[in-house]
């Protein structure tokens, strides 16, 4: 059955595999037999990974992001997590949508399933 899946990326991007491997999982889940609808949410220290100035190439992100978008997956960042870390909306990459903390909570509540990395 096709599901609404939210993938939470919660950890600081560099130095561990969680952001790139979480993106790999997100696009893998979007590309599977059921073609689940996948929204990736950068939250917690994961908000750092949504910044335009992050070296995506060094993080092995580009391939996973391209595949995710091809499958119709979206990427959003949690403004509440940004505010706690002094990350401003102007710093966020173009392909990531800033959503308020409330919007993110609603997204998570409305999802059929959440995975976190």
């Amino acid at each position: 059955m096709k599901r609404d899946v939210v993938v939470l990326l919660t950890k600081a991007p560099y130095g561990r595999v969680h952001v790139p491997e979480g993106l790999r999982a997100a696009r893998g889940v979007a590309a599977g037999f059921d073609q689940h609808d996948v929204t990736v949410v950068f939250t917690g220290d994961g908000a750092y990974a949504a910044r335009a100035s992050v070296d995506r190439e060094a993080l092995n992100m580009p391939g996973h992001v391209a595949d995710l978008r091809e499958q119709g997956g979206e990427m959003v960042v949690d403004a509440a997590a940004m505010a706690e870390r002094d990350v401003s909306p102007g710093e966020i990459a173009d392909d990531v949508t800033v959503r308020s903390g409330d919007e993110v909570s609603t997204l998570v509540r409305d999802a059929d399933c959440t995975l976190d990395f």
Partner: protein, 123 residues
């Protein structure tokens, strides 16, 4: 009967998420539910055989090693799939290092679990 799917990303020594996954899987099997584990990232280290940690407390986290606990669940019908890319990244030789019944799969298996399970628990 329900089908519970677990995504486990924690290793045997960095958190107790493996233990929570085991305890919930154990309780679910005892109640006759169907249980599937997908081990991703350091979760792929959990089923590695021949882990030994001597002199551990009988009441502690390592009363038995994680791999032994999961082997029991597999013997009782749980499905346990490890992500093949994660296995290779960690230098695990699946045929040598994993016990009977532990499967190596890929992300489409996780996608299937999400489609088929009644509940998915991410740990």
């Amino acid at each position: 009967m329900a089908h519970l799917g677990f995504l486990l990303t924690g290793g045997p020594f960095d958190s107790e998420r493996w233990r929570t996954a085991y305890e919930l899987g154990r309780a679910a099997l005892d109640k006759g539910h169907e249980v599937t584990f997908f081990h991703y990232l350091d979760g792929a280290l959990v089923p590695v055989e021949d882990q030994t940690f001597p002199d551990c407390s009988d009441t502690g986290l390592y009363d038995e090693m994680p791999t032994e606990k999961f082997q029991k669940l597999v013997a009782e019908g749980a499905e346990l799939i490890c992500c093949g890319l994660c296995v290779d990244a960690r230098g695990i030789d699946a045929s040598d290092d994993y016990p009977e019944g532990v499967e190596v799969g890929l992300l489409p298996d996780l996608a299937d679990i999400i489609g088929e399970a009644d509940r998915v628990i991410s740990l």
